[in-house]
Structures are given as C-alpha cells and as structure tokens.
C-alpha cells in the first residue's frame, strides 16, 4: 500500500471525487462509443497517425477548446469563491490550486494551442505550399503538447495539483512549502509541451523561410505569416530559457540541489529572473499572431489593403526585440534598486510605441473602408478599444515607482486579463469564425456568433473593470477571501456576474458549433468572405495536397489582385505530387513521453529509465527508417479537382 499512497490526493474534497467519477465515466463513454461505432480504425488512420498540417491544426483546435473549458471552470470557481466576503465555498489550499492551474492551462495549454491550431492550418496555405518543412516533426510537436497537457490535467486527481501560482516562484515552489507532487507536475508537464513548442518554432521558421510560393518575397508575405515568423523566432530564443529554468526547478525538487533555495548559496531570485526572461517574450508569442489575425480580418472586411504594411512589419520586429528586455517589470518591488528599475521601466513603456503604431494602422485601414460587420470583424473591432484600456493600464504598471502601489493587486489582474482576452482570445475566436469555412466546408452561424460577441465583450468589461477599483483600494490578488469591512464585496460580486456572462458567451460559441454542424448549408464557395490571401485560392474543403498547381505571386495580396485585375495564379501544368506517409511514431512517442513524465513526477526511477530507453529506440527507428513518401498521380489530382476538393 505504501507504494500506492503516493498517488493519493493530499486534500480530497467532494469536487475532486466528482471529477474522478466524471473522468472515469467520460473515458468509458469514449471507449464504448468508438467501439460501438467502429471508429477505432478511422481514428488511427485519419487522425492519430496523420502528418497533414491541416488535421494537426484541427487537433490543436479541439484540444484548445477543451482546455478553454478546463481553465474556464477554474475561473468561475475563483469568481464564485470571492463573490461575497468570508465565503467558505473553497478552502485556501483549493483556491491556491485553482488559480495556479487556471493560469497554466489558459496560457500554455489553451492560448498556445489555439495559436498553434491557426498557424498550422493557415500558414502553409497562406504561403502557397503543400505542407510544413518537417511534417513528421509537426505531428510530434502536437503529441508532445498533448502529452504535457494530459499530464498536467491529471494532477488534481493523481497526487495533487500544483499550488504555487502559474509563475511558481521559489522558495514557495520548493519542497519546503509545496510538499505534494503538484509542482513536479508543473515542471515536467511544461517541459514536455515546451519541447513540442520549440520543435514547432524550428519547423515553421524553416517552412516560412524556404517554402513560400514563387514570387512571394518576404515583404510580400501576408501579415499573419509575418507575425508567425516573428513569433516562432521568439519561441526559438525564449523557450530554451524555460527549459533550463524548469530543469533547475526539477532538480531542486527531486534531487535536493540548491539552485533556488535560500541556503547553501541558492538564489530564489534566479528563478524569478529566468522565468520572466521566458515569460515576457511568451506574452508576445501569444499576442503577435493575434495581431496578425486582426490585420487579415480588418483588411478583408474593410475591403481595403492593410495600411502601413512595412511599419506593421517593423513594429513587430521592434516588439520582438524589446520583449526580451523588459522582464524585470514583473518584480519591480523585489529589490533591484532604482537604476535597474528605471531602465526596465523605460524599455517597458517603449513597447507601447510600436504597439500604438499597429493600433493606428488598423484604424487607418478602417478609415474610408466599406466595413462589413461579420462576427470576426466584430471581434476585431471590439479588440481595439478594450485592448487599448488594458494596454494603457500596462503603461501605468510599467512606471516603477507607481508600481509599488499596484504590484500584486487586482489592478494587475485586471490589466493582464484586459490585454490577453481581447488581444488573444478575441483573435482566436475571430480567427476560428474566419477560417472555419476553410477548415470544415461550412460557415458558423452569424446570428449566434454576434450574440456570443456581445455577451463576451460586455462581460469582459463587467468582469475586469471592477478589479481596477478594488485593486487600487488594496485588494491583493490570489487572496482566497476577505472580510466585509474591506468594502471589496460589491466589486467582486460584479466580477462574478461578469464571469457568468463570459461563461454564457463561450457556451454560445459551442452551441453555435453544434448548430452549424447540423444546419449550416454545405454548398459554400471556396472564398465565402471575399478575402485577400492565398488560402482562399484553393478548393473548400482543402484537398490533401493543398494546391494542385503551386501558385505564382506578384503582389502582397495576390489572390485579391487575381480577382480584381485577373492576374493568373496557377500557370503550370499539373504534375504528380509528392506526399509524406502517415506515421504512428509521433503518437507513440507522445505516449512514451507521458509515461516518462509521470515516472519523473513520482520519482519512479526504473520506469523513468525504461521510458527514456523507449524514446531512444523511437529516435533510432526513425533514423533507420526509409520513408520516401508517395506520389499522387496526375489523373487522381484531376479527378479531385473536378469534384471541388472532395475525396470521393
């Protein structure tokens, strides 16, 4: 029994037991469902072994939506707990666990996955190519992300959740103050999915640099592709920092080293610095693709080409460089001294300049445009004012001396939610509505879409604006309760009502997906939005090989110009197309990495060695494998093209 004790949850409560039952029932239901409908083979052939960037994108999308709900439930529980003073719905420990997992799930497993989903699906189509540079590695990236996400999500039913905040500051995250395996889960799960993200970064940089359609010079790339290129460059230089920090944290917790301890020369501030050297660029890894999406959507629905293309590119480059030079602003109050704080204060405020340039470019794009108010456009228009409020309060926080007032209060919480939600989440929903017809061959319902927008936009303001006030009044973040005399009660109640509104808004999006799957017309054109870039130049649904003939590009908005001026995109003859074979290896490696991570979390060293050997064997098999792919013959391509992309 001693062996099994370690898997017990340290603070079990009715919610935990209910979740265990729910997880068990869901798993059984999925297994029975797949067997009953005889879908195992389909699942394996078409999805688990796929190396097609479009299908990988869709798998990221499904995972991201699942994680959005996991993180959303956490959020609702937090708002419910703090809605009234002296509430006893949750205990302090439960509250700690919930705000920790909320942060990690939303940033790493929801927002990142959503971005990966849209990048995977859109980028190869947008640059007019047939797949990414390394399709097999792309699948591996997804399965590593998935392994990390699952590992993190089982923590609350096996062994205990992490509870030291998404930033996991030491010594709080050390073994003295976090005794359960929770923080081990944090370290290992982030490590695994971080490796996946790094591989994606390498893959997409290579793809964008080397595989663009003939004629598409760097300065003719669509803005979303530009943002993806810069994002992936940030990934490649920021994620190794996280890798090192997590490795040190893991060693501190499992091997009793002294990197971040407060004795024997350990230095707890080293963690804070390393974490934010990764963490701040991470913020821009999230926001830059969102900016790219807004650029696409705003120019499409304003029916104008993007204002200030070059300044858009240069401001993104400026943001990417500055993003590495601001990390200290996360802990102005933690003893650097005035000189260091001043420098980082200035760099922080400097980021507002390129961001402001981008905001004005979008406004100028809208000016004199014939604006079409579709759902994606509504989200993009809603983004501009709300994000600006979030951004300007960020500049307030960036003033080091004033930050002593705001630091670690609800003011900060209001600030970063008001940049991340309108910045990233709105962009992801807008992108989802915008590219959905290309992904699935039918459109999402516009009426429901607009309802969800108004619910979400108003609720975001309702949830987070009161936090500015309670924060300035001195309500600290991460406090699980407060007394009535503080007067925070009314603001937190408004927040709670807003959070319910957000939940309704997201539920409407899911209902919209269900409704549209059932009732939306399927005979839509390949270019339903009258859009401007190459992904709309191919058939809907997109054939496996994307483009029967690779497009040739003369301008920034080649597809638009082909519609308006009649430039011909497809000039060559159809030739046999080389395609990569599907492979089960990435999925199997994902499973082995999951076992590896689980063994690491609980210090099961034999299992750890065995799974490490397993990973080595997979790599060796890959090295010896002869996989030349296959060719799709010309007559089959012509047949597919005649049916408008449908397979049979």
């Amino acid at each position: 029994m001693d062996f099994l004790d370690r898997f017990a949850v340290p603070n079990p409560g009715p919610t935990i037991y209910a979740s265990m039952v729910a997880i068990a029932l869901t798993t059984i239901a999925i297994i029975i469902g797949l067997t009953y409908f005889k879908k195992w083979g389909y699942l394996w052939r078409e999805w688990l072994t796929t190396v097609d960037h479009k299908r990988i994108g869709i798998m990221y999308l499904i995972s991201a939506i699942l994680m959005l709900f996991r993180g959303g439930v956490d959020a609702i529980m937090m708002r419910a707990q703090t809605a009234v003073p002296d509430n006893t719905l949750l205990g302090a420990q439960e509250y700690n666990e919930i705000f920790t997992t909320h942060g990690v799930v939303m940033i790493i497993f929801m927002a990142m996955a959503f971005i990966m989903a849209l990048m995977n699906f859109v980028i190869p189509l947008q640059i007019g190519t047939r797949d990414v540079a390394f399709p097999r590695l792309n699948a591996l990236s997804y399965w590593l992300y998935f392994a990390g996400a699952m590992l993190f999500n089982i923590s609350f039913v096996v062994g205990g959740s992490p509870d030291s905040g998404w930033s996991s500051y030491f010594p709080l995250a050390g073994t003295d103050f976090s005794e359960s395996v929770g923080t081990n889960y944090y370290m290992i799960a982030l490590q695994i999915s971080g490796i996946g993200t790094l591989i994606t970064g390498i893959n997409f940089i290579t793809t964008i640099l080397k595989m663009r359609a003939p004629g598409m010079s760097l300065m003719k790339m669509p803005m979303f592709t530009w943002s993806a290129l810069i994002t992936n460059l940030i990934i490649v230089f920021a994620f190794p920092v996280l890798t090192v920090a997590l490795a040190m944290g893991t060693m501190d917790r499992l091997f009793a080293t002294n990197f971040f301890t407060t004795e024997n020369g350990g230095m707890d501030m080293l963690w804070a610095n390393l974490f934010w050297v990764w963490g701040h660029p991470e913020v821009y890894i999230l926001i830059l693709p969102a900016f790219g999406i807004y650029s696409e959507i705003i120019s499409t629905f304003a029916r104008r080409n993007l204002y200030g293309y070059k300044s858009m590119v240069y401001s993104m480059i400026a943001i990417s460089l500055l993003s590495f030079l601001v990390w200290v602003h996360h802990f102005f109050t933690m003893g650097q001294g005035a000189l260091v704080n001043s420098i980082f204060s200035i760099t922080t405020m400097a980021i507002a300049v390129p961001t402001g340039i981008k905001i004005f470019n979008w406004l100028f794009t809208l000016r004199k445009g014939s604006i079409v108010l579709t759902t994606p456009m509504l989200y993009s228009l809603g983004f501009i004012p709300i994000f600006t409020i979030g951004g300007v309060t960020g500049v307030m926080l960036g003033m080091a001396s004033a930050d002593y007032q705001y630091h670690n209060t609800m003011f900060l919480v209001a600030h970063f939610h008001l940049v991340i939600i309108p910045g990233v989440v709105f962009a992801m929903i807008a992108g989802l509505f915008y590219w959905w017809p290309k992904m699935f061959g039918f459109m999402l319902n516009e009426r429901l879409g607009k309802w969800s927008f108004w619910f979400i936009a108003i609720s975001v303001c309702l949830t987070f604006f009161p936090m500015f006030i309670s924060g300035l009044d001195g309500q600290a973040r991460r406090m699980y309760t407060y007394s009535e005399s503080t007067g925070f009660g009314v603001w937190n109640m408004i927040s709670f009502i807003g959070a319910i509104g957000l939940a309704i808004g997201f539920a409407l999006i899911v209902y919209n997906i269900y409704y549209s799957v059932r009732y939306s017309p399927r005979n839509i054109p390949a270019d339903p939005w009258n859009a401007r870039s190459l992904e709309w130049a191919t058939a809907t649904p997109v054939p496996d090989y994307n483009f029967a003939i690779l497009p040739e590009v003369k301008s920034t908005e080649a597809f638009w110009d082909s519609k308006i001026y009649g430039d011909k995109l497809f000039n060559k003859r159809i030739e046999p197309i080389h395609m990569p074979n599907n492979s089960g290896m990435p999925f199997i490696m994902g499973i082995i990495f999951f076992i590896w991570g689980f063994a690491f979390v609980f210090g099961l060293w034999i299992l750890l060695v065995l799974s490490t050997i397993g990973i080595g064997i997979c790599l060796a098999l890959r090295s010896y494998e002869k996989d030349e792919g296959y060719y799709i013959p010309v007559d089959e391509i012509e047949r597919v093209e005649k049916t408008g992309g449908k397979k049979k």
């Binding site: 080293t257 990197f259 080293l270």
Partner: protein, 198 residues
C-alpha cells in the same frame, strides 16, 4: 526525389536543404540554452555556501586532456566531411569512427573529473555553485553522449548505403552538431575552467 547535381550531395534535394536550415535554427535554440546556462553560472559563481569554490576543485590536467580530445575530434569530423565530399566512403567512415572514439575518451575523462569533484566535497547538492557547475558540464556531456549514439547510427548507415544524398545529409548535419559542441566546450574551458583557476 530530384537531385541537383550542381550542389554537394548533402544539399542535393529540397528536403536536404530544409533539413540543414532547420538544423541551423535548432543550433540557434541551443545557443540560447547554453547562453542561459552561462548566465546562471556567472550569477551563482560566488554562491558557494559551505562548499568549495571553483579554484579549489578545478585541476588543469584532465581539463587539458578533455580539450585536446574534443578539439581533435572536431578536426577529424571536418576531415570526414572533406572525405565525404570527395566521395571516399571508407575514409569518411574511418574519420567518423575516430571522431566518436575521441568523443568517448572525452566523456570518460569528464566522468573521472566528476568523481574527483565529488571526492573533494563538491557534490550536486553542496551549493548553488556546484549545482550549476554540474548542470552546465552535464548538459554539454549529455549532448556528447547523444552525439555518440547518433554517430553510430550514421556510421552503420554509411556502411549499408554508402554515400547517398540521404546519408551525406545526415553526416553533414552531424558534423554541424559536433562542431557546435566543440564551440561550447571552448567557452566552458575559457570561462569556467581557465577563469576559475586564475
């Protein structure tokens, strides 16, 4: 697979060119990784707690031998690629084997060095300084170990298939990796050992 005859074999196909660029980007990430380790090393260098400082445990002889072995191996992998470009498969394999043997020698002495450190009271758990010292040397050593396994796979494929666009591409990318480890070692040698002993 279309092979472009105007380029060296390892650049011959489209996928080969992608592989090489992708690997350069990966090396970029590795530079960030080791950069972080070096930054952490210099943050923790004086935080020795009750344990020894670098000058008390570093010894010149094993470090010099390690340096000579690894630098020579970087030279021999260069010769291997030179032989590969001239189409000499036997010479390529021979230089590959010599490279890996030198790498193995390097690892052996590094492990010996670790044992010496531990005997002198500098274990992984002793202090912040010893932790980062072992982490940075261990990360480099682990890279060498992975490289040795990888190199063995490539040698066996060179035996089996000879010099093809595929094997040449793998061998060339391996050489990039190996040279990179050498560059990292030069930094470790200069800024950890030399600076620590002065």
């Amino acid at each position: 697979m279309k092979v472009d005859k105007s380029l060296p074999l390892e650049y011959g196909t489209e996928q080969n060119r992608l592989n090489i660029l992708g690997f350069w980007v990966f090396i970029g990430a590795e530079i960030a990784l080791f950069g972080t380790l070096f930054a952490s090393y210099f943050t923790l260098i004086n935080r020795t707690g009750n344990g020894p400082a670098g000058a008390e445990i570093f010894e010149i002889a094993p470090v010099m031998i390690e340096t000579i072995l690894l630098l020579t191996s970087s030279f021999t992998i260069g010769l291997a690629i030179h032989a590969m470009r001239m189409g000499k498969v036997k010479a390529t394999i021979t230089f590959f084997i010599i490279t890996l043997l030198l790498g193995l020698g390097f690892l052996g002495i590094e492990i010996y060095d670790f044992i010496v450190f531990i005997h002198e009271g500098a274990t992984l758990q002793t202090s912040g300084f010893t932790a980062i010292l072992f982490l940075i040397l261990g990360t480099h050593g682990a890279h060498v170990l992975v490289g040795i396994f990888w190199g063995i796979f490539i040698i066996s494929q060179l035996f089996k298939h000879g010099l093809t666009p595929r094997t040449n591409n793998k061998a060339f990318i391996f050489s990039l990796y190996w040279h990179f480890l050498d560059v990292v070692w030069i930094f470790i040698f200069s800024f950890i050992f030399m600076k620590g002993m002065l």
